[in-house]
Amino acid sequence: MSQTVPVTAKDANRTGGPMWAIGAMAVLFALAPMVVYPVFLMKALCFALFACAFNLLIGFGGLLSFGHAMFLGTAGYVCAHAAKEWGWPPEAAILLGTAASTALGVITGLVAIRRQGIYFAMITLALAQMVYFFYLQTPFTHGEDGIQAVPRGTLLGILDLRSTLAMYYVVLAIFLAAFLLIYRTIHSPFGQVLKAIRENEPRAISLGYDVDRYKLLAFVLSAALAGLAGATKAIVFQLASLTDVYWTMSGEVVLMTLLGGMGTIFGPVVGAFVIVSLETYLAPFGQWVTVITGLIFVVCVLAFRRGIVGEIGAWWDRARR
């Protein structure tokens, strides 16, 4: 098994990132609505969570999923349906959406982990396309229209989420909780075994680890967190649509993670913010956004494989030496 991500042992230790950096990030985001448009921040945070979930799989498990949109979209549809058609409160709808993508993660994970490397990528892509066609045809998603005008509701019956700022802090709380969960996972014994599998799978097998079980667990966890991002996004934007299940969305999360830095803990957050800003500013240019997205892919792969955070980390290491 060759190494998936250009992280040296030293990098891998640093990926932990000290707790103070996470605290600083929390403070920064808590103050951010004073200067930045909160709706933009919410979008970026949802995608940041999505990318972190994806990064858990590729960066720490060495598994490249090219179908993560299916979890984002499934959770979005289920959550939006529960909130709109059944009148569920937002917290219950988000939990149900997350549960749905977790279940989908178990099923697709069991199939996908039967192959490795690029086959894994192709299988997840194909499975996601199957899920896409399912949502395209099934009536509850309303096809091209999507589920629109999803009510935000009141959180736990107290907090009215129609207020943008209240919604923002809920999104931030969800993001930070998930981020800490990922951080803990990476530094748990489970995370260490995952890293061992990524570095040398046959060796991990020979040491007696049930590799498939670890991979499946990582896949399901990643699916669940991607689902959490999708469900939250559906409540925030009051919309669940086909865009979130299409393969371009799966590519986008790969790009965010690659650009920010695969296998770094803050990389996906940085990548998500950069890509969401790019898309916001370049929106008037239509299809050129696709071209630019493609260019970033090419440049990252050819010259910038560590990503923004990875490069900064490497530069910091050199400077200290």
Partner: protein, 294 residues
Amino acid sequence: MTLFGVPTQALFGQLLIGLINGAFYAMLSLGLAVIFGLLNINNFAHGAQYMMGAFCAYFLLQLAGLGYWWALLLAPLVVGATGILIERTMLARLYKLDHLYGLLLTFGLALIIQGVFTNYYGSAGLPYQIPSELGGAFNLGFMFLPKYRAWVILASLIVCLATWFVIERTKLGSYLRAATENPALVQAFGVNVPRMVTLTYGFGVALAGLAGVLAAPIYTVNPQMGANMIIVVFAVVVIGGMGSILGAVLTGFGLGVIEGLTKVFYPEASNTVIFVIMVIVLILRPAGLFGRER
């Protein structure tokens, strides 16, 4: 006249469409398999290169007045040449890295190519005429077989068999197979492996371009034509396994026919049937029908 409760006309019509789709699946998965075998790169840009082939035919006609038969010869060469350029300038830097980077790079290239064409030509298709020699249809008694469709199936079979012959039965093919097994050793025997790798990529891409020209008169020439195709072809490749060339061809045609039949008997599932088969194959035979675990 009906068969299994379905009018034979519809049944054979869908079977024919299935065979046509199968012809394209076969040619595209063959190109992917050849590229993957030697370069260990999963060419995500294959769908975009197929689309380029169709556009190339369109440009040749519009700008140079060169018709279908010229396009059939020139478009694969042009598309193959762009492939060689991509291999030399970009892919060649990735061979020492994990295979996933090849996938990511070609994915980026696919986005660029598709984005540029969509920008200039929108999502509406451009028409391309069936060449006059192949207009009309054969009357088979039970159905009409358009000549062009028969030609596509025949051409695809010829191309696939020729590729199989070159790789499995000629000296050049034996070098190729040897380099797939152990490139360092083959290089030590004095074979120029890097050049062979470049030409192989060019050849695989040219096959995609050729498929694009064949497709141009059937489907309209459209910037998006390769995007959804490539995902189905990936599933075809997973089902067939990349180990065997004939396996790729058989799987391609077989799945096309199954997809066509699904359209007759259970149209709702026609988009997903290939993916469902992929799941079943992965459960029963993870290496693919004709594959070996590598």
